[in-house]
């Protein structure tokens, strides 16, 4: 019995870890920095699918919602939207320079909830290797119907570049 359990463990742990590392995993979203897309109502957390496969070559697009390890605290994970890529010039909002030239291999990330988000405006451009991408998302109602858990957002379709990107992108 114990032997069988150990055998099952030996099989499932490496397979599970490999799946999480190469394909993706599900994560809970805390905080209000991505309102109104994620966590639109207080007291109700959204769940998202982190698509690791989509960022295997570190190819990002403006408007993607990404998850990353905080450049300041390596144990904290953040969810932000890609505003600018390498070579772009971005107007900032509270950073120490008003115009930032994004260096090679970096990107500019901001939360949708302007002013309530710890993002590139406080820590500057971020190295793209941190990033785990979301693909797409289905409406919440789809999963509230099926799973009947607290609201579950499953992101399966790349989010459209929203109005904020257009505002922020200069030159």
């Amino acid at each position: 019995m114990i032997l069988q359990f150990l055998k099952a463990l030996c099989v499932s742990v490496p397979v599970g870890l490999t799946f999480v590392d190469t394909v993706g995993s599900i994560a809970k979203v805390d905080g209000t920095s991505m309102q109104p897309v994620l966590n639109p109502k207080p007291g109700c957390s959204d769940y998202v699918f982190l698509n690791k496969w989509a960022v295997r070559n570190f190819e990002l697009h403006r408007g993607d919602v990404v998850s990353l390890r905080s450049p300041r605290e390596p144990n904290v994970h953040l969810i932000k939207r890609v505003i600018g890529l390498e070579g772009d010039v971005v107007t900032t909002n509270g950073y120490r320079r008003s115009l930032v030239d994004i260096p090679p291999g970096h990107c500019w990330l901001e939360g949708d909830h302007t002013g309530h988000s710890v993002d590139s405006n406080s820590f500057g451009p971020v190295s793209t290797q941190f990033v785990v991408l979301f693909g797409k998302w289905l409406p919440h109602s789809f999963f509230t119907l099926i799973l009947r858990v607290c609201k579950t957002v499953f992101i399966l379709r790349r989010l459209e570049i929203n109005r904020m990107t257009d505002d922020r992108q200069s030159s």
Binding site: P14, T18, P71, P74, F130
Partner: protein, 163 residues
């Protein structure tokens, strides 16, 4: 069916290999002059991946880091200063990266042992701890170069005095 069973077994081997290389350690072939005289071109280095997962990098560790400029490239450098410590060298060269003389939170200052020929934090500023992929323990190939990589910060640089 036996074919399918074999395929599944190979898949499992692949998963185990992935986990070992991702969470335990791996071998890295070093290239370039930046870590001479500690590590030479074409030396093979044994790394552990315990440091990025559970432990903070310490001063003097030789670490394998994803290059901040190019995420597909790995660099091998020595940790010279950890968060809160003073950055060695003159501040006037650093002013475009940091606002104070200290390494910011969550970042480390990396330099190659070959100070004159190394692209490191002097060029791209402090590097986030999250980019560290592993710590080099020892060089294992070629046989003449086998050695443990001790956190020996001052061995090759007389300008860098203990603070």
């Amino acid at each position: 069916m036996p074919f399918l069973k074999k395929l599944l077994k190979f898949g499992w081997y692949g998963c185990v290999a992935h986990c070992v290389f991702e969470y335990c350690g791996d071998f890295v072939l070093c290239d370039g002059p930046s870590m001479e005289p500690t590590i030479h071109t074409n030396d093979v280095v044994l790394t552990e991946h315990y440091t990025p997962l559970w432990r903070r990098p310490q001063q003097g560790d030789v670490v394998i880091v994803r290059s901040p400029r190019n995420p597909n490239q790995f660099i091998c450098k020595r940790v010279v200063a950890v968060p809160g410590e003073k950055i060695p060298g003159q501040l006037k060269h650093l002013v475009k990266f940091v606002s104070s003389e200290k390494v910011p939170k969550g970042k480390v200052w990396l330099e190659g042992d070959n100070k004159s020929n190394s692209t490191d934090s002097k060029n791209y500023g402090p590097v986030p701890i999250g980019l560290i992929r592993g710590r080099a323990i020892a060089t294992i190939w070629p046989p003449s170069a086998v050695q443990l990589l001790a956190p020996d910060l001052y061995a090759y640089d007389t300008n860098l005095k203990p603070r």
